[in-house]
Symmetry: C2
Subunit: 118 residues, 2 copies
C-alpha cells in the first residue's frame, strides 16, 4: 500500500506562542500517534512551500495521484485525515469522487500531481 503522509513542521499558526512548538510540529506529533498502525507512513518535512495556508500536508503513494492540502487545524485534522486517507487508499489511483471527499479536503486542496510513470 505504501501511503506516505508528509506533514510540514514549519507551518506556524497565528495563535502560536513565539517560543512554543509550531502548529505544524504539533500536527505532526499528533498524526504520528493517531495514524500509527493504520498503514500510513507519517513523515515530517521542513516546509512544503504552502506558507500562507497552514497547516499543510501532502499525501503520496506509488501509482496514485499526490495531493497537497492546507488550512488544516491540528485539533480536527486527525479525524479528517483518517477518513480522507482511507478513501484515498481504497482508490487504486487515489482519485476519490468529489462528493465523497472530506469537506476539508475539498476546500483545502492546494494542488494535485499525477502518478509518476517511468
Amino acid at each position: 500500500m505504501a501511503v506516505t503522509l508528509y506533514v510540514c513542521t514549519t507551518c506556524r499558526a497565528e495563535s502560536d506562542p513565539p517560543d512554543g512548538p509550531r502548529a505544524g510540529a504539533r500536527l505532526h506529533a499528533t498524526l504520528a500517534e493517531t495514524l500509527a498502525g493504520e498503514g500510513v507512513r507519517v513523515e515530517p518535512v521542513e516546509c512544503l512551500s504552502v506558507c500562507k495556508r497552514p497547516c499543510t500536508v501532502a499525501v503520496s503513494s506509488p501509482g496514485r495521484w499526490t495531493y497537497v492540502y492546507g488550512d488544516l487545524d491540528p485539533a480536527s485534522a486527525p479525524a479528517i485525515l483518517r477518513d480522507g486517507l482511507s478513501r484515498y487508499t481504497a482508490a487504486p489511483d487515489g482519485l476519490v469522487p468529489w462528493r465523497e471527499r472530506p469537506e476539508a479536503f475539498r476546500k483545502g486542496v492546494i494542488a494535485r500531481i499525477p502518478p509518476f510513470s517511468a
Copy 2:
C-alpha cells in the same frame, strides 16, 4: 534523467475567448514544442487543482523534489521553464538555491513535495 513537466490544460486566463483554446492548452502546446529535445517529457494534465493561479505546471523526477508553479504566462513561460528546469536537472535532489531560481519560480511556487522513498 527522466524529468516530467506536467502542464495543466484546463487553466483559463481572464483574457481567454469563451470559444478559443484555454491559456493552459496554449501553454502546453508551446512547451511541448520549445522543450522538445531538451530531455524533458511534457505531459498535458486535466487540472492540477490550482485553478486560482493560472497557468500551472508541476515538475517531477525520480529522486528529486516535486515542485508546483502557478501564475505562469504562456508567452514568457518557455524561457523561464527552460532556465528553471536546467537548474532543477543539475541538482541531484532538485533543490536549487533560492537566489538561483527564476523569479517566476520564487514568486509562483504553489507547493513542493519530497522525493518518494520506497
